[in-house]
């Protein structure tokens, strides 16, 4: 299966507001009051921006699983 993704999507600026955060939370199984969503907004924007910076790195050679040091030993 090939997923169609806009090539520039990882670099798009996050556009978030409290209502969107409440919706995202509900989808993940968490009921969030708008005031809590407002409280979390800045931190979430910062986290998503940090993820964008990771997305810009070339990590193609690295799997998301396995030993955290990447190989079973320095001799591999």
């Amino acid at each position: 299966m090939v997923l169609a993704m806009p090539a520039d999507q990882p670099q798009a600026d996050p556009k978030l507001d409290a209502a969107t955060i409440c919706q995202l939370a509900r989808l993940a199984g968490l009921e969030l009051e708008p005031a809590r969503a407002e409280r979390l907004l800045a931190d979430l924007v910062a986290l998503i921006a940090a993820d964008r910076r990771l997305a810009a790195l070339d990590l193609d050679d690295y799997a998301a699983t396995g030993d955290p040091w990447g190989r079973s030993s320095v001799d591999d």
Partner: protein, 450 residues
């Protein structure tokens, strides 16, 4: 030995006196319990003090030694455990509001190991709420034995303070982003985050399957080795490493970071000079990816903690510290792709560190950029993640990493030197730490306690 000399003695010295009959586990356990009664009201290091069961365990240990049954270095030695691991019949309090306390019916694997090694468990120690970065106001922080107006750090602050104050001989901590090494540095003791997976976490309240570790906190690397041996059931020793010709990579970005205080900078420089004069070959190293590291750790930690703890804890959100609540909520909101990308980044970072550890025997840096602050700083963008600056690579890469006392900084507060080694190179890391202890002036008993 006088009482303070006994309270601050090493595990091997206490054990030798047990075996020559000049001191007994009951006497030493009673001394620790008296010291806890005297000093803990100011320190707030213990959430449960287990006087009765500890004296029973000490009596059993004593009887066994008399009958010729010797369980090894921890036999009859008073220790403490962080209060997020299960101990049958003793409430687990998690540093949290009573609504979250649990009553386990069986021991965590580490508790079983400690019992098998003959250790005497004198109490369960204070921690940041669920080890997640914040003090619950109903519980309060653990105050620092060097200056009770400062924090002992977290999240294993109770364990580090109890050891530093001579209330027990070693303790267990857990470390997801530095929670063994940070309080060890603030309290002037040795704290080892072992290789990922080395210590069994069964029965421990987790934050993150892929970042959590448990390990020893003790007043010396030799004592930390004895504790690690007890926790794993494998022999570990910490005879000081021969430094001549040893290659040590100095993580320049951590040594030179703006957050590093003059006191930490000076103590770390003095330790580096001493290592060099002893024949070690020091070389600056610059692993890639350090600037993304703390945020990548949060991308892994937040969703994992929310999956593990969120459903149970957010039912009583009002009973949580605000920071704990916010972090748990944030974990539900990050895209899964952010978690996966951060997991990939870890392997990139791991390759960087493993490459350096092929050329070097170990990597060194300050353990924390600053001395113990008044209270634990939040883990967020606004704080610049400063407290976690040096500790997070070893969590992301699963590498063994030790904080060892290397001097005193501003206000006479202790400074830690961090030594990070190859996967499963825990023993060499402890041996290097023992060599640092031999080179540098020893940590005196904390001024407040002495």
């Amino acid at each position: 030995m006088t009482d303070p000399a006994i309270a601050f003695a090493g595990i091997a010295a206490i054990g030798a006196r047990y075996r020559d009959g000049s001191l007994s586990p009951s006497e030493v356990t009673s001394l620790c319990l008296e010291r806890i009664a005297t000093h803990d009201p100011e320190l707030n290091a213990f959430l449960s003090i287990l006087s009765e069961s500890a004296l029973d365990q000490a009596a059993s240990a004593e009887a066994e030694l008399r009958s010729g049954r010797d369980r090894g270095p921890l036999h009859g030695v008073p220790v403490a455990i962080k209060d997020l691991m299960a101990m049958a019949g003793v409430p687990t309090k998690f540093g949290a509001d009573p609504i979250f306390h649990e009553a386990p019916e069986r021991d965590a694997a580490m508790v079983r190991r400690l019992r098998a090694a003959g250790a005497v468990i004198v109490g369960k120690t204070n921690l940041l709420e669920f080890a997640y970065g914040a003090v619950n106001p109903r519980v309060g922080q653990t105050n620092n034995p060097w200056n009770p107006e400062r924090t002992s750090g977290g999240s294993s602050g109770g364990s580090a303070a109890a050891v530093a104050a001579g209330l027990c001989y070693a303790a267990v901590g857990t470390d997801t982003a530095g929670s063994i090494r940070i309080p060890a540095a603030y309290c002037g003791v040795a704290g080892l985050k072992p290789t990922y997976g080395l210590v069994d976490l069964d029965g421990v309240s987790l934050l993150s399957w892929s970042l959590d570790h448990a390990g020893p906190i003790a007043r010396s690397c030799a004592d930390a080795a004895a504790m690690l041996a007890g926790l794993t059931g494998r022999p570990v020793t910490a005879t000081p490493a021969e430094l001549a010709g040893l290659r040590l990579g100095v993580i320049a970005a951590h040594r030179d970071a703006a957050a590093v205080t003059p006191g930490v900078r000076a103590a770390f420089a003095a330790a580096c000079r001493a290592l060099g004069e002893a024949g070690a070959l020091l070389e600056d190293v610059s692993p890639g990816g350090l600037e993304q590291m703390a945020r990548a750790l949060m991308q892994v930690l937040l969703p994992e903690a929310s999956v593990i703890l969120g459903p149970r804890l957010l039912r009583h959100a009002g009973a949580l510290a605000e920071q704990t609540r916010a972090q748990l909520e944030l974990g539900f909101l990050l895209p899964a792709t952010a978690h996966v990308r951060a997991q990939r980044f870890r392997r990139y970072l791991g390759a960087q560190f493993l490459g350096l550890l092929t050329a070097c025997d170990a990597l060194i840096s300050p353990s924390v950029p600053f001395e113990a602050p008044i209270e634990d700083p939040p883990i967020d963008e606004a704080s610049g993640f400063g407290e976690l600056l040096c500790s997070t690579p070893a969590n992301l890469c699963g590498l063994p990493s030790l904080s060892v006392f290397c001097g005193q900084g501003e206000g006479g507060l202790p400074v830690g030197l961090q030594i990070t080694g190859r996967p499963h190179g825990d023993e060499l890391v402890l041996r290097l730490g023992a060599a640092v202890e031999r080179l540098m002036p020893p940590a005196p008993p904390p001024r407040f306690i002495a």
